[in-house]
Symmetry: C2
Subunit: 479 residues, 2 copies
């Protein structure tokens, strides 16, 4: 158990001098972080009554408000939430050059879980590693006091209505369970003191001491880490058999009449499943990747044609905008995570990292190589939140693509669909094929598997996709 140290009382004058100095320092480091475009995440956790609010306020006063955000994580254990627990934290991550402060974080949201406690701890470690690798400075503080001191403070604390009603009601009860709660904290801190982001444990028995300590640690950490670039150690990926795209049989054919009938049947079935999914609050994520002109657009149209439009959204992914660029590259995909019970259909996806960004050198080798793991982890986190994750690669051959490009060029209604960029991409077919083959091999797994869709025949491709979606949802419903 964290012990309460005997703390030398600081004189008022000394406290004031030291504090003013540290506040100036922290303000200066904030400006430096802004210049260097480094995002900073500061997490505060702690037992009830440790003065988190007062300490954070002190920190805020030293910062330029033009560059921080405070996120107050509510006690949502009993609340029905609309999205996975991690979603709200992603929404509040700092932009480049800015500071986000979490008043309670994913630790607080995990502490009392039972069923998925272990999973959640793994997810936390993975996410923190990802954030740090993406160039974010992550700092974690845990504040504690002795049981006696807590008891005194909780009595005063009762009248603060900004703390949720429930937490006030149970505040004093908490003091009784001090040892048990402290134990839980020690356990989760141990699990997450992971060598990636280490904890700062601060004794808040004396509030002034704690304030100085936090400011001191923040200024030390920032001083050390603002200039240090993220690790440049090359990544060695395990050797693996790439997926051979040439083995895909593209000769399937389907007659218009059969297509029409089956399409109708499948669409009806999916329409019914949409209701099931809604009732059971299952989020469904459908990811479309494929060659240019492989027919993604038409395919998505048939998929959603008979669905209730209030229950799905189609998210087209192109190069990130300014807003998205100022966040870690996976941010926007978390942002579009559907509400429980809804469909999110991605027209191109997070796999852009290992496809276009790899081939066109928009991402460094380190970045795209690292992303196989990061993507697997993100999908894992989604699946842990009860999501169905379905990933399609729409496969056509090079001749078929040429035929479609020419058709688009010659058909007035379709000309807008074809751009110079499509022709440029086509010249890099082999490079893309290599990237696709490796992507499928490295990110295929049983919980979020790839489905390769033979798409030379559009009818076949559409039915194939519908069938796969139907089966994946049916399987999930049976669980």
């Amino acid at each position: 158990m964290f012990t309460v140290e005997k703390i030398k009382k600081i004189s008022k004058v000394d406290y004031k001098t030291q504090k003013d100095e540290l506040m100036l320092k922290v303000g200066e480091l904030q400006r430096k972080a802004k210049e260097l475009k480094v995002p900073i995440l500061i997490i505060f956790e702690g037992m009830q009554g440790t003065g988190k609010g007062l300490i954070i306020n002190e920190l805020l006063l030293s910062l330029d408000p033009r560059g921080y955000n405070l996120y107050n994580n509510p006690d949502d254990r009993k609340n029905l939430t609309e999205r996975p627990m991690f979603w709200k934290f992603w929404e509040h991550l700092p932009k480049t050059g800015e500071i986000s402060i979490f008043y309670r974080s994913w630790y607080f949201s995990t502490l009392w879980r039972e069923k998925d406690y272990n999973r959640s701890c793994i997810d936390i470690n993975n996410i923190e590693e990802f954030l740090q690798d993406s160039g974010m400075v992550v700092l974690k503080f845990f504040l504690y006091t002795s049981k006696n001191e807590q008891s005194k403070r909780l009595k005063r604390f009762e009248k603060n209505p900004l703390s949720s009603k429930k937490s006030r009601r149970i505040a004093l009860r908490k003091n009784k369970h001090y040892d048990e709660i402290m134990d839980k904290w020690e356990k989760i801190i141990q699990i997450s003191d992971n060598g990636i982001v280490d904890w700062h444990i601060v004794c808040a028995e004396d509030l002034n001491f704690a304030k100085l300590e936090v400011l001191k640690l923040i200024s030390q950490e920032l001083e050390n880490r603002l200039e240090v670039k993220t690790s440049q150690i090359p990544i060695v990926l395990p050797t693996i058999q790439s997926f051979d795209l040439s083995t895909v049989d593209l000769k399937q054919n389907i007659k218009p009449k059969e297509y029409k009938e089956t399409l109708k049947k499948y669409q009806k079935r999916l329409h019914d499943l949409q209701f099931e999914v809604f009732k059971k609050k299952i989020p469904v994520i459908i990811a479309y990747e494929g060659w240019d002109a492989a027919g993604k657009g038409g395919n998505i149209k048939r998929l959603v044609e008979k669905l209730d439009p209030r229950g799905y959204s189609v998210i087209p992914i192109s190069s990130p905008n300014d807003f998205e660029k100022s966040r870690p590259y996976l941010w926007r995909f978390w942002h579009y995570f559907p509400k429980f019970g809804y469909f999110a259909i991605f027209d191109r996806t997070w796999y852009g990292r290992v496809l276009v960004e790899r081939v066109e050198n928009f991402a460094t080798e380190l970045e795209w190589k690292r992303s196989y793991k990061e993507i697997r982890e993100m999908e894992e986190q989604w699946v842990n939140s009860n999501a169905v994750v379905i990933k399609f690669w729409l496969q056509i051959d090079k001749d078929e693509q040429l035929r479609r490009f020419e058709e688009r060029k010659n058909n007035q209604d379709k000309q807008w669909k074809i751009t110079d960029e499509d022709w440029r991409n086509r010249e890099k077919w082999d490079e893309y094929e290599l990237a696709v083959s490796e992507m499928i091999a490295r990110t295929n797994n049983i919980r979020a598997p790839w489905t390769i869709v033979p798409s030379n025949n559009k009818y076949y491709s559409r039915l194939f996709v519908l069938k796969t979606v139907i089966e994946a949802i049916e399987d999930h419903l049976k669980k």
Copy 2:
């Protein structure tokens, strides 16, 4: 009452041909809107069972998903909401070149109000006028069927769980009240058929007819209006006595000891009021404007110093980012509207439109002249939502500004606070003074009044602001 027309049944083949043609047309117009960067808002309202969902789905299928958003306005009459009713609609407005579709809108949210029904209708008209003036194309559709047809459809409708539970439960009861509800709709449509955005009333007795009709109207409207620029008729503002800044007495002084004592007393009082405000769920909006170096930063610091950081946020306003630029200029201020019970403190504000944007010609004369009215209306809408709106102008004289600029230049810790831009702005002092004087005169009103804060003496300025905030909140609590 809207009458149900005898509708000639359309043959399946004719329907298909016409639909395909219209869908192509709408898709083409979407691309054109994107090119021209015109945002489009399409509102669908209608009686229960009119097939809004099916019609919207048809529309969506004709659109490139890379450019639309569907917002499904929930039935929130009985729900406690965290922000004003209009807030969520502002969040979902289209960006430039994009289409937002509201499945039910502010009309649905207003229809059943009692107390503030009239106010809400006025707000709607004002907001629609603002959006249209800002260059947005706004289209409104109302769908209806006969009572008989509705009854048939509601029976089928019962099993669709994507409609909220409550709405399903009361669906059939609604048919009984058909006349009464229709009456309500007719009334609100009459009030809001305002010559700014006119309604399209579509009979949905025959669903195919309604689908074609909606597509036809959308393509006609877009065809007519995409090229038409917003009105360029010069605005003639009423003659008004400008506020004379030179009448502000800047000689006030306050001794350090008195300052310290009073500051402590005021901060304590505001701290207590924060709890009151939170309990009563009153949103508090504090707007800071003032000369460069008038002391806004230090002033805000003292204002929030003793507040619970979970209950306020400071929002620094500088030039809009890409994301904000793609929305109407008032969008970001709505975006930052505080939750009920919280403080939002703006460091510079929406008044930028008539200050820096006017002086530096970032806004056209038409734009900034129009904005006095737009701003008054927005503040009125906020006050209607029970907000306290407090606006400060921090006044210093030209000599005092120079003294402070020099001090910043010579003090290492403060150098970052002074930029070339500050010196450039200073050269335009007279132009700014004119703009400020006119702004205060044209936007001062009893529900959202301006407070001019003598700020040559920083102590005096800080206490003055604190006192004003305290009194404004106390007054509001007495209501």
